[in-house]
C-alpha cells in the first residue's frame, strides 16, 4: 500500500505541473499573438546604410517616416 505522504506528494506535484503548464500555455499564446499583431516580419522596418545615412546626415531629411 502506498503511504499517505507519498500520495499527497504525487497529487501536489501533479497540481503544480498542471498550474505551471496552464500558465506557460497562456503565456506562449499571448506572446505569439503580440508578436504577430505588432512585431511580425511585415511590421519590421527594413534598414539599409543609405536609409540610416539619410536619417543622420541628409540635411534635407526631417523625418525618416516612409
Amino acid at each position: 500500500m502506498v503511504p499517505q505522504g507519498e500520495v499527497s506528494r504525487a497529487l501536489r506535484g501533479r497540481s503544480l505541473g498542471r498550474d505551471i503548464g496552464w500558465a506557460l500555455l497562456i503565456k506562449s499564446v499571448a506572446l505569439v499573438l503580440l508578436y504577430f499583431a505588432f512585431f511580425g516580419p511585415s511590421r519590421r522596418v527594413e534598414m539599409t546604410a543609405d536609409r540610416v545615412a539619410g536619417a543622420l546626415i541628409d540635411p534635407a531629411q526631417h523625418s525618416t517616416r516612409p
Binding site: P3, G5, R44, V45, M47, V52, L56, I57, T64, R65
Partner: protein, 519 residues
C-alpha cells in the same frame, strides 16, 4: 528621425517591459544560489530536512522561473520595429552577447532546471547537487551576457564606426567582454538578486513562524537567508560603489546629475545627503552637504575634482562643435564611398553623436546657430530630481538590508528568531528589494539620457517611425500581458506558500531525520 511623441512612447514601452521583466529576474538569480546552498548542506550532512527545504524553495523558484522566462523576449521584439535605427547602428556589437545569452546561458539554465525538478529520484545526491549548481551558474551567466550588452550602451568600447555600412562594428570583442562597466554592473546586479532571494526566504520564513507553521524549516531557512543575505547586502553596497566609480570615469554627467552637483567644487567634493534640486535655477534647495565624501567615493582621491553639471555642459558644447566637423567629414566619406575612417578624421567623428543632438532642433545641423548648439548641450543633462531621489532611495534601502540581515543573523545566532516584532518587520520587508532593483535600473537607464548609446547615438535618433496608434495598442497589449503574468505569478506563489513544505514522509521510510533545531 521619428516624431518626438513616437520616441517618447517607444521609450515608455521599452521601459515598462524592462521594469516588468526585472520583477522576475532578481528572484531567479537569488533563489537559484540559495537552493544550491541548501542542497549543499543536505549533501554534506545527509539530513533529509535540507532536502525538503530545497524542494520547497525549488517549487517557488520554478513558479517564478516559469512566469519570468521569455518575458525579456518582448524587448527584442521591439528592436526590429520601434528601434530599427538603433538596431542597425549597433546590431553588430549588441547582437553577439544577446545571441550567446540565448544559445549558451539560457539553454544551460533551462535544461538543468528540468533535471532539477525531475531528477530527484533519478540522479545520485551528488549528481543532483551538480545540476542545482549548474542552474544557478546558468542563471548568473544569462545575467552576465545581458549586462555586457547593456554596459556597452553605457560605455561603448571595442567598436569603431564604419561610414560605408553606417554602423558601429566590433574592433575588439575582448574589450566588449571585459568592459569595466560590464564587470561592475554584473557583480552589483547579481548581488542585488541574491539580496532579493534572501529577503524572499526571510520574509516567507517569518510568515510561517508568525503562523506557527513549518517551524523547523522556517528557522533553518531564515538562518540561511540571514547569513547569505548579510554577505550579499554588504556586497551590493561595496560593488555598487565600484559601479558608481566606473560611471564616474565614463558617464560624468550621470554622476553629476545623481549628486545634483551644479558646480565643480574644489576637491575633494562634498556629498549632498538631502536637498531639492531645482533645474530652473541650477541650485539645490535645503541642501545637507557632507564635505569630502563624494570626492573620495567618486575619484578614490582627495585631489581629483568631480565635474559639475555646468562645466560638463560647456564640455558638451565643445564636443558638439567638434562633432560638426566630424559630420562634414562623414558627408565627404559617404560621397567617396570610403570603407573606413582615416586617422585624421577619427577624433572629430568620435564626437559625431554630440553633433547629432542638434537634429532635434534642425535637420541641416551644419547651419546650427550658437543658441541651438547651447540648447543641444543643455539637453545632455538628464532629469536631475528623478536621479537624485531614485539613487537616494535605492542606497537607503541597501543600507536597510544590511541592518535587517545583521539583525536576523544576530537573532539566529542567539536562537531568538521568534520575536514577533522582528518577524513582522521581516515580512513587511518583502517588496523592498524589488523596489530597490527597479530604482537602480531607473538610475542606470534614465541617467544615460539623452543617449541610447552614451556619446554615440541620441535616443531620439535610434527610434523608428512606427505609427503612433500601433505603439499605443502594443503598449496596452504589453501592460495587459505582464499584469496578467504578475497576477498569475503572485497567485501561484501565494497558493504554494499557503500549502507550505511537504509534510514529512512516514518515519518508516527513514527519509526524514528528526528535526532538532540544532542542525
Amino acid at each position: 528621425m521619428a516624431e518626438l511623441d513616437v520616441v517618447e512612447l517607444s521609450r515608455l514601452q521599452f521601459a515598462l517591459t524592462a521594469l516588468y521583466h526585472f520583477l522576475f529576474v532578481p528572484l531567479t538569480l537569488g533563489l537559484s544560489v540559495l537552493l544550491a546552498v541548501m542542497e549543499s548542506v543536505y549533501v554534506m550532512t545527509g539530513r533529509a530536512i535540507w532536502r525538503e527545504m530545497t524542494k520547497f524553495w525549488g517549487t517557488l523558484f520554478g513558479i517564478n522561473f516559469a512566469m519570468g522566462v521569455a518575458t525579456g523576449i518582448t524587448m527584442e521584439f521591439q528592436f526590429g520595429t520601434n528601434w530599427a535605427y538603433y538596431s542597425h547602428y549597433v546590431g553588430d556589437i549588441f547582437g553577439a552577447p544577446l545571441a550567446i545569452e540565448g544559445l549558451m546561458a539560457f539553454f544551460l539554465e533551462a535544461t538543468f532546471i528540468g533535471l532539477f525538478f525531475f531528477g530527484w529520484n533519478r540522479l545520485s545526491r551528488l549528481g543532483h547537487l551538480v545540476v542545482t549548481w549548474l542552474v544557478a551558474i546558468g542563471s548568473n551567466l544569462s545575467a552576465l551576457w545581458i549586462l555586457i550588452a547593456n554596459a556597452w550602451m553605457q560605455n561603448p568600447v571595442g567598436a569603431t564606426f564604419n561610414p560605408a555600412t553606417m554602423r558601429m562594428e566590433v574592433s575588439s570583442f575582448f574589450d566588449v567582454l571585459f568592459n569595466p562597466v560590464a564587470q561592475a554592473k554584473f557583480v552589483h546586479t547579481v548581488s542585488a538578486g541574491y539580496v532579493t532571494g534572501a529577503v524572499f526566504v526571510l520574509s516567507i520564513g517569518a510568515f510561517y513562524l508568525l503562523r506557527g507553521r513549518h517551524r523547523e524549516i522556517a528557522r533553518r531557512s531564515i538562518t540561511v537567508a540571514a547569513s547569505f543575505g548579510l554577505a550579499s547586502a554588504l556586497s551590493v553596497v561595496v560593488l555598487g560603489d565600484e559601479s558608481g566609480y566606473t560611471a564616474g570615469l565614463n558617464q560624468k554627467m550621470k554622476i553629476a546629475a545623481i549628486e545634483a552637483m551644479w558646480e565643480t567644487e574644489t576637491p575633494p567634493a562634498g556629498f549632498t545627503l538631502f536637498g531639492f534640486p531645482d533645474r530652473a535655477t541650477e541650485t539645490t534647495r535645503f541642501e545637507i552637504h557632507v564635505p569630502w565624501v563624494l570626492g573620495l567615493i567618486a575619484t578614490r582621491s582627495i585631489d581629483e575634482p568631480v565635474e559639475g553639471i555646468k562645466d560638463l555642459v560647456a564640455t558638451a558644447e565643445r564636443r558638439i562643435r567638434n562633432g560638426l566637423t566630424g559630420y562634414k567629414d562623414l558627408e565627404r566619406l559617404r560621397a567617396e564611398r570610403a570603407q573606413a575612417v582615416p586617422p585624421e578624421m577619427q577624433e572629430p567623428i568620435h564626437d559625431l553623436g554630440y553633433a547629432l543632438l542638434l537634429k532635434r532642433w534642425r535637420p541641416d545641423i551644419g547651419n546650427a546657430t550658437d543658441e541651438q548648439v547651447h540648447q543641444a548641450a543643455l539637453s545632455t543633462v538628464p532629469d536631475v530630481s528623478v536621479l537624485f531621489w531614485s539613487f537616494r532611495f535605492m542606497v537607503g534601502l541597501g543600507f536597510y538590508f544590511i541592518l535587517l540581515f545583521a539583525l536576523a543573523f544576530y537573532l539566529a545566532s542567539r536562537r531568538e528568531l521568534e520575536r514577533r516584532w522582528f518577524l513582522r518587520l521581516a515580512l513587511c520587508s518583502l517588496p523592498l528589494p524589488w523596489i530597490a532593483a527597479e530604482l537602480g535600473w531607473i538610475v542606470a537607464e534614465y541617467g544615460r539620457q539623452p543617449w541610447i548609446i552614451d556619446g554615440v547615438l541620441p535616443t531620439f535618433l535610434g527610434a523608428s517611425s512606427e505609427p503612433i496608434g500601433d505603439i499605443w495598442f502594443s503598449l496596452i497589449g504589453f501592460v495587459l500581458f505582464y499584469s496578467t503574468l504578475a497576477v498569475i505569478d503572485v497567485y501561484l506563489l501565494v497558493k504554494y506558500i499557503g500549502l507550505g513544505p511537504k509534510q514529512p514522509a512516514a518515519p518508516a521510510s527513514n527519509r526524514l531525520a528528526p528535526a532538532t533545531g540544532d542542525d
